[in-house]
């Protein structure tokens, strides 16, 4: 067991009405919820780190729940992604600890999502921004739902901190028209198509 020390929690929701084309009646919502926490492994090499994933589970559920509520409810979510920023005294491997607790929390909150959760991670200092990739929750190849959202805070991550983010959307890009697999055409069995 490691201590989960939260310094900040942030929520950012964008309502997107248009991008130079027709104005949508219902705006696309794209949101991120993220936490800045202490990195229990900062400043030294720790061989065994996997136990921290269990400690992160409640945080994952908390962030996923807040985000789903902010976007109008779990049944409105069509796209998702996750990401991690690691402060200077940590390793990119510490960011990888977010894969299981972040991904499974979103699946639990959304209910039955089949596609792999796309992700990004990097080491950086305060003010670093991370572009978190987004794909359709049930079929990774749905082209209209490929998107991304930038997350970050001016004062995080400090050297001994981690920033763990979840991102969700309520639909396709606002003027999606690049073809490919459409959301209405998916089988939703293998998580891909």
């Amino acid at each position: 067991m490691f201590e989960l020390e939260i310094r900040k929690i942030a929520l950012n929701v964008e309502e997107i009405y248009h991008e130079g084309g027709p104005v949508a009646e219902t705006p696309l919502l794209r949101g991120a919820c993220f936490a800045v926490i202490s990195n229990p492994f900062a400043g030294r090499f720790v061989p065994e780190i996997q136990g921290f994933m269990d400690d992160l589970r409640p945080l994952g559920i908390d962030l996923a729940s807040r985000l789903a509520v902010a976007l109008g409810g779990a049944d409105k979510i069509e796209g998702y992604g996750k990401g991690a920023l690691v402060g200077a005294a940590g390793e990119v491997e510490h960011g990888a600890l977010w894969h299981a607790p972040g991904g499974y929390a979103m699946r639990e909150v959304i209910g039955g999502a089949k596609a792999i959760v796309p992700s990004a991670k990097k080491v950086g200092g305060p003010g670093t921004r991370l572009d978190v990739p987004i794909t359709h929750i049930n079929a990774s190849y749905v082209r209209s739902h490929f998107d991304s959202m930038e997350v970050g805070l001016n004062d995080a991550p400090r050297a001994d901190e981690l920033l763990f983010a979840l991102v969700m959307t309520t639909g396709p890009r606002i003027h999606a028209r690049s073809g490919g697999l459409e959301a209405w055409g998916i089988k939703g069995e293998d998580g891909l198509r």
Binding site: K8, I9, I16
Partner: protein
């Protein structure tokens, strides 16, 4: 709506620890910001009344959204601020037209009272640029614990012909405020100053 809005962003930031100490309950800030088309981009126009009216619209819309994001009653708002960033084809005066003549009254309805001047900042800038919104106590400008600021940015705004307009509110002052001066619980809130 006179404003042609491309997107609206809402940010909530909770501080659970500062300086190694737990902050309980966490201090909370919220910002609501709109990216709008600048009707005067690329030209000098003497009469800025369209932007002045849009300022009134956005004072209400963004003020209400920011307060709603914190999930509190209007009278529970403790501090506020506003800011605008004009895309490269606009003038600084366009930001002034949005922020100063008519934004205050509808914003004050959204936060219940607001006797103090709304602190503000403005600048010209491009996509991905940071906007720092100053914060001050909403009823007594000299409350020292509530001088603060909050930063937002959109990776894709403002475009050259756009303006980013933001309103920030809080339910608290700085975490661990301890530099003296007038306190929140001492403020009379009558004259907007003390």
């Amino acid at each position: 709506m006179k404003a042609r809005i491309r997107k609206i962003g809402v940010w909530i930031e909770e501080t659970h620890a500062e300086g190694g100490r737990a902050i309980n309950p966490p201090t909370r800030k919220a910002v609501a910001a709109a990216v709008i088309e600048n009707p005067y981009a690329g030209q000098y126009v003497e009469d800025l009344s369209v932007l002045i009216d849009i300022g009134a619209e956005l004072g209400g819309l963004l003020g209400k959204k920011a307060v709603a994001a914190l999930g509190i009653a209007p009278h529970e708002v403790q501090s506020y601020g506003k800011a605008a960033m004009v895309g490269e084809n606009g003038e600084l005066e366009h930001a002034a037209a949005l922020l100063h003549p008519k934004m205050g009254a509808p914003l004050r309805l959204a936060v219940d009272k607001g006797a103090a001047l709304v602190p503000s900042s403005k600048k010209r800038g491009g996509m991905g640029q940071d906007l720092d919104i100053p914060l001050g106590h909403k009823d007594a400008a000299y409350v020292r614990s509530h001088f603060d600021g909050v930063e937002i940015r959109f990776n894709d705004a403002p475009r050259a012909n756009e303006i980013l307009v933001a309103i920030a509110v809080t339910d608290s002052g700085r975490p661990l405020a301890r530099v003296g001066g007038l306190r929140h619980d001492e403020a009379g809130g009558k004259d907007g100053l003390r």
